[in-house]
């Protein structure tokens, strides 16, 4: 699907006028598929590598045109759920006939040319604001072939390029693309190997290794941390993270406070994740965490 050169990418969203994915005004490309499945994931529809169907029950007019066109007989009559994901192959025929966009396909194939054309639409805004393109996901490195294919064209246009990564990639794949990146946002989720595995599904050995390597070979590496109440906001984890950053000679961290908005998406798709049902941090909690980092000599930027 997304393996070889010349193959299209699977993209589940392209967001223009992004102000928080790097400097200036940016267009963020969300690539589908992620090796992690974090319990707090904001974009649970990004985890699966393949296109999938989502059901927006509040948009449904109840006409059941979808049922008539589905070749897999995957449409159910239930009010709450419409798609039998076990049999659905996300061909998208139902979405094509759904006038109210009650059924949508998440993840579309984008060829290189079409993507470049779309990204260049805001070139003037990038130039004026010092912005550019951010590749996000999912884990964009899962589609490294596509990235390797498209990056030289964007670089040639002089665009500022950022990638937001979970750190879960094979080093050689990242290494060959480093000349194209102007900035790398790198998530550090938990310092404890086993807790990392519990909450994200993978252990953090490769991630931490990659961070260290990048910190030595790439200038604009920026650590980020989703702070999740009760999961990674304890003193011990914060201190370890801070020490790790110092070890890697990194002096700032961006904190991404948890919010439950992503969880409302879980009902629309087929996901093994469940809502965490926890309350977001209060501003004073975040100040406390900021204080801990600062004490260790790490500068903090809190998003929003």
């Amino acid at each position: 699907m997304n393996g070889n050169k010349g193959q299209p990418a699977i993209i589940f969203d392209i967001q223009r006028f992004s102000l928080h994915d790097g400097p200036g005004i940016r267009t963020t490309v969300f690539l589908k598929g992620c090796p992690l499945s974090c319990a707090w994931c904001q974009n649970p529809e990004s985890i699966s590598r393949d296109p999938e169907m989502a059901f927006y029950k509040e948009s449904c007019l109840g006409c059941f045109e979808c049922k008539l066109v589905c070749p897999k007989n995957a449409i159910m009559d239930s009010e709450e759920k419409r798609v039998r994901h076990e049999v659905c192959d996300a061909c998208g025929k139902c979405a094509n006939v759904c006038v109210s966009r009650g059924l949508r396909r998440i993840g579309e194939r984008w060829g290189r040319e079409k993507l470049i054309q779309t990204l260049l639409k805001d070139e003037a805004f990038f130039e004026e604001s010092g912005g550019g393109i951010t590749f996000s996901g999912g884990e964009p490195m899962l589609q490294h072939h596509f990235l390797y294919d498209v990056l030289p064209y964007l670089k040639e246009k002089g665009l500022h390029i950022n990638i937001e990564t979970s750190g879960m990639f094979r080093w050689e794949r990242m290494e060959r693309m480093l000349p194209f990146f102007d900035l790398i946002y790198f998530d550090l989720k938990h310092m404890d190997r086993s807790l990392h595995k519990t909450y994200t599904g993978v252990d953090n050995r490769l991630i931490l290794e990659n961070f260290l390597k990048l910190s030595r070979s790439f200038e604009n590496l920026q650590a980020r941390m989703p702070v999740i109440p009760g999961i990674n906001d304890d003193v011990e984890n914060i201190m370890k993270t801070a020490q790790y950053l110092i070890h890697a000679n990194s002096r700032t961290i961006h904190l991404l406070p948890y919010h439950p908005l992503g969880e409302s998406k879980l009902l629309r798709i087929h996901s093994s994740l469940r809502a965490l049902n926890i309350n977001p941090h209060q501003p004073e909690d975040l100040e406390r965490i900021e204080g801990l980092f600062k004490k260790e000599g790490i500068d903090v930027v809190i998003y929003q």
């Binding site: 967001q15 223009r16 006028f17 102000l19 928080h20 200036g24 005004i25 007019l61 006409c63 006038v99 109210s100 966009r101 639409k121 805001d122 003037a124 805004f125 004026e128 604001s129 912005g131």
Partner: protein, 800 residues
């Protein structure tokens, strides 16, 4: 040091506080005043015209003398704390009735004014009785009825105007929409203008039109001087009995100032402001009380400011205090609109504009310390009037740009921004000299004119564009109507391509524009022969020199601005036809029209059509239809010339008429049902711009604004969250810079917290003075109709 930041001398905190307190008290008094209707102009005007001896006089002299009587007989007042004086009406905040223009139709609502929910206007039983007494005299004498001699045509025009299905002609209420040559007024005074008139008059024989017009000018000059002296006497009398020593001194200054101006040229900033305000009142009493715009005040007042400061007569603080006092005075002047006119021109706003910044006549950056004062006054007062505009040139300095950007990012909604490079180009390609184009200001909502030189009737008419498509799909009839109000074109069943649809659309457009121009020219002629305006004309370059009234084409530049309303709805409806019928072949055009005739009662059909992409999302294949609609409008308008020898030019703003036109237009193929509001100005259909501001700007810039000589209104909306902090400010600055670099003409930035609007809707009393941008102008939220409030809320919640 930047010219923009003035050399502010240290002022004591006490003095500063004192000035601030006065300004806040003045503001409070105006905001607390319940707006009302003043009968005086109507009564005095009627008495003059009822007098048989006056009817034999030349019409120019009649107009001048009627205005003179109003200025000499109306109640005058000087309110506590005032530094700049002059009252437009007998109420603190009030409007007048113009029975000879649109007053009779307005008076049909006379019993509703005080009780209506939107914009209630106080009028007592006695005042109602007074006004009703004058109606019979004007019943068959008002302007619209004088447009045609043929009684059938008279009735047709009157009905047409009342329903407003296809277009609304504003000139039937008079013309106005000028930026008067106040520079001349404050330089040579009315006595100087009178002298010029006398010199020209010598060249003409008595009883020629020129001689009569100039006679009118002389009468008006004397009347205006006398109007000033009335205030001088009043101030003097008040000073005598004033116990407070400070106030006594202020009143004596006012008396001294009004003794001199407007008769003489001004010698100080205060005299200049005073002279202008008295003229501002008089112009608003002469003809249509709309869009009389002082314009580039930071420019023509600067020499007075500079001299006062240099001579040590005035401090920066005092200058600011006087300018604030002047600004507040402008908010006392409001229009009296019937319910119908309120739907069309929503909000109690009559288009008085102050424009600051930009380049001078030589093309140099002309921002000065007064520019800064005006921007501060605007931001600190945040009142519904005047409407503040800022010109942005490629040579504008960073201090100026930053000040404006920061003000906007914090949500002031003002000033609206104008791109000098584009507007100057547009004006020169429409016949202005480069220097006169550089000296432009906006009037009314967004319309660029040359200060003191244009008679551009910028809001001559507003044209309902989508209804043309309704008729094109139904052989020249509105859906469900048996009457053919357009021309006969092919039935939908015989249209086999988009070319057929376009042919029908263009034929209907040509028919409707021709009809509108016919009516408009008749009304232009009526204005010319029955309602000349010597005062307006003497403050427009060319009229006195030629001895020709502005209604006859005496001004240096002449235009008529016609607004193309809802181009995005029309373009989207055309694209939906192309996509659904001819590209995707989902249905025949006949079937689609069938659905429209049934008002899209099948929800699937409605939702399907709504889901087809819309203008505003940076999709070339969609946007090209809105571009097509605008270009067709411009092309067809350009075939005509007005009776003053000027071109008809297109504007893309809609005040609030898009809501009214929406109510009277049938279902359309982009999934809009009958009666739903249309899009405002150049904006996409409400809520349909889903890709954010960069995509929206790219779409809007596909329309070549250099062809839109009457100006555009582009609303860029952000929620408060997006523009928070330095990131937000920087992003806004980049967005605006890019928009202008790519050829954008005008933009106004709305930063809105939707929660606050919803709270204001539900508890209007808690938010009496919440200012929102409507269409090229600001209005208090509570002044809007419930429908408009919903629209503003919708706009703010679905921005990004």
């Amino acid at each position: 040091m930047s010219l923009f930041i003035s050399d502010v001398k240290h002022v004591s905190p006490v003095e500063e506080k004192k000035a601030q307190n006065r300004v806040m008290r003045l503001k409070q008094a105006v905001q607390d005043a319940k707006p009302g209707i003043c009968t005086e102009r109507a009564v005095i005007w009627t008495a003059y015209h009822k007098d048989g001896t006056n009817r034999r006089k030349p019409v120019c002299v009649q107009m001048a003398e009627a205005l003179r009587n109003v200025l000499l007989q109306k109640t005058i007042a000087i309110y506590p704390d005032e530094l700049i004086v002059g009252n437009f009406s007998s109420k603190r905040v009030g409007g007048s009735i113009f029975p000879e223009l649109h007053g009779v139709p307005v008076l049909m609502d006379i019993f509703k004014f005080s009780k209506r929910k939107t914009n209630p206007l106080q009028v007592s039983g006695r005042e109602i009785a007074t006004l009703l007494k004058i109606v019979p005299f004007w019943m068959f004498r008002f302007l619209a009825l004088k447009a045609y001699k043929n009684p059938l045509k008279k009735i047709a025009l009157a009905l047409h105007q009342l329903k407003g299905h296809f277009y609304v002609i504003n000139e039937s209420g008079g013309i106005s929409h000028i930026a008067p040559d106040y520079e001349t007024l404050i330089t040579i005074g009315t006595e100087g203008i009178r002298e010029k008139a006398c010199r020209t008059q010598e060249k003409f024989k008595k009883s020629t039109a020129q001689w009569e017009f100039l006679e009118g000018v002389k009468i008006v000059c004397d009347a205006l001087s006398a109007f000033g002296r009335r205030y001088a006497r009043l101030a003097h009398d008040m000073a005598v009995s004033e116990p407070d020593a400070d106030r006594k001194e202020e009143l004596l200054t006012i008396a001294h100032v009004c003794e001199r101006v407007p008769q003489k040229g001004a010698s100080t900033l205060q005299e200049a402001l005073q002279s202008i305000f008295l003229a501002q009142i008089a112009i608003n009493l002469e003809s249509l009380d709309n869009a009389v715009s002082p314009g580039r005040m930071d420019q023509y007042l600067y020499p007075f400011y500079k001299k006062d400061i240099e001579d040590g007569r005035l401090t920066h603080l005092e200058a600011k205090e006087r300018i604030a006092a002047f600004s507040i005075k402008m908010a006392e002047i409001i229009p009296v609109f019937s319910d119908y006119l309120t739907r069309v021109h929503g909000g109690m706003f009559n288009g008085q504009v102050i424009t600051v910044g930009g380049v001078d006549r030589e093309g140099n950056d002309c921002v000065n310390p007064l520019t800064s004062i005006f921007l501060e006054v605007m931001d600190e007062l945040r009142m519904r009037q005047p409407n503040y505009h800022a010109r942005i040139a490629s040579v504008s300095g960073t201090d100026y740009l930053k000040k404006i950007n920061d003000t906007l990012a914090l949500g002031s909604g003002s000033p609206a921004l104008y791109n000098d490079d584009v507007i100057i180009d547009t004006m020169t390609s429409h016949g202005y000299s480069v220097a006169d184009a550089r000296d432009y200001t906006a009037v009314g909502c967004v319309e660029p004119v040359s200060q003191g030189k244009s008679f551009a009737s910028t809001d001559a008419a507003l044209f309902n564009m989508p209804v043309v498509l309704e008729m094109a799909l139904n052989q020249g009839k509105k859906f469900g109507s048996v009457m053919r109000s357009g021309t006969r074109t092919k039935p939908a069943s015989e249209m086999t391509s988009m070319a057929d649809v376009k042919n029908a659309f263009e034929a209907q457009l040509a028919f409707q524009i021709k009809k509108m121009i016919g009516d408009l020219r008749a009304i232009e002629t009526a204005n010319m022969s029955h309602h000349p305006t010597p005062l307006t004309s003497m403050l427009l370059d060319g009229c006195v020199e030629k001895g020709v009234c502005s209604t006859k084409g005496g001004a240096r530049y002449n235009f008529s601005g016609i607004q193309c309303v809802a181009p995005a709805d029309t373009g989207d409806a055309l694209y939906a036809i192309e996509k659904a019928v001819f590209t995707d072949r989902k249905m025949s055009l006949f079937d689609l029209v069938g659905h429209l005739q049934k008002n899209l009662e099948d929800p699937r059909m409605m939702v399907y059509l709504k889901g087809i992409p819309k203008f505003g999302n940076d999709m070339a294949e969609v946007d090209k239809w809105t571009v097509y609609v605008v270009e067709q409008f411009i092309t067809q308008l350009s075939l005509f010339e007005n009776t003053r020898g000027g071109k008809y030019v297109a504007g893309l703003y809609s005040v609030t008429v898009h809501d009214h036109f929406g109510r009277v237009t049938g279902a359309l193929s982009h999934g809009r049902r009958k009666g739903e509001s249309f899009s405002s100005g150049i904006s996409p259909v409400n809520g349909m711009d889903k890709e954010g501001p960069t995509a929206l700007i790219n779409s809007v810039n596909r329309i070549d604004s250099r062809k839109i000589a009457n100006g555009i209104n582009f609303n860029l909306k952000f929620d408060a969250h997006t523009l928070k902090g330095e990131t937000g400010k920087k992003a806004l600055q980049s967005i605006l810079n890019t928009y202008f670099k790519k050829g954008g003409m005008q933009v106004q930035v709305n930063v809105i917290d939707p929660a606050m609007l919803i709270a204001a809707r539900d508890n209007p009393d808690l938010y009496p003075n919440l200012l929102v941008r409507v269409s090229g102008y600001s209005s208090y939220f509570n002044d809007l109709t419930p429908e408009m409030k919903e629209e503003i809320i919708r706009r703010s919640t679905i921005c990004i």
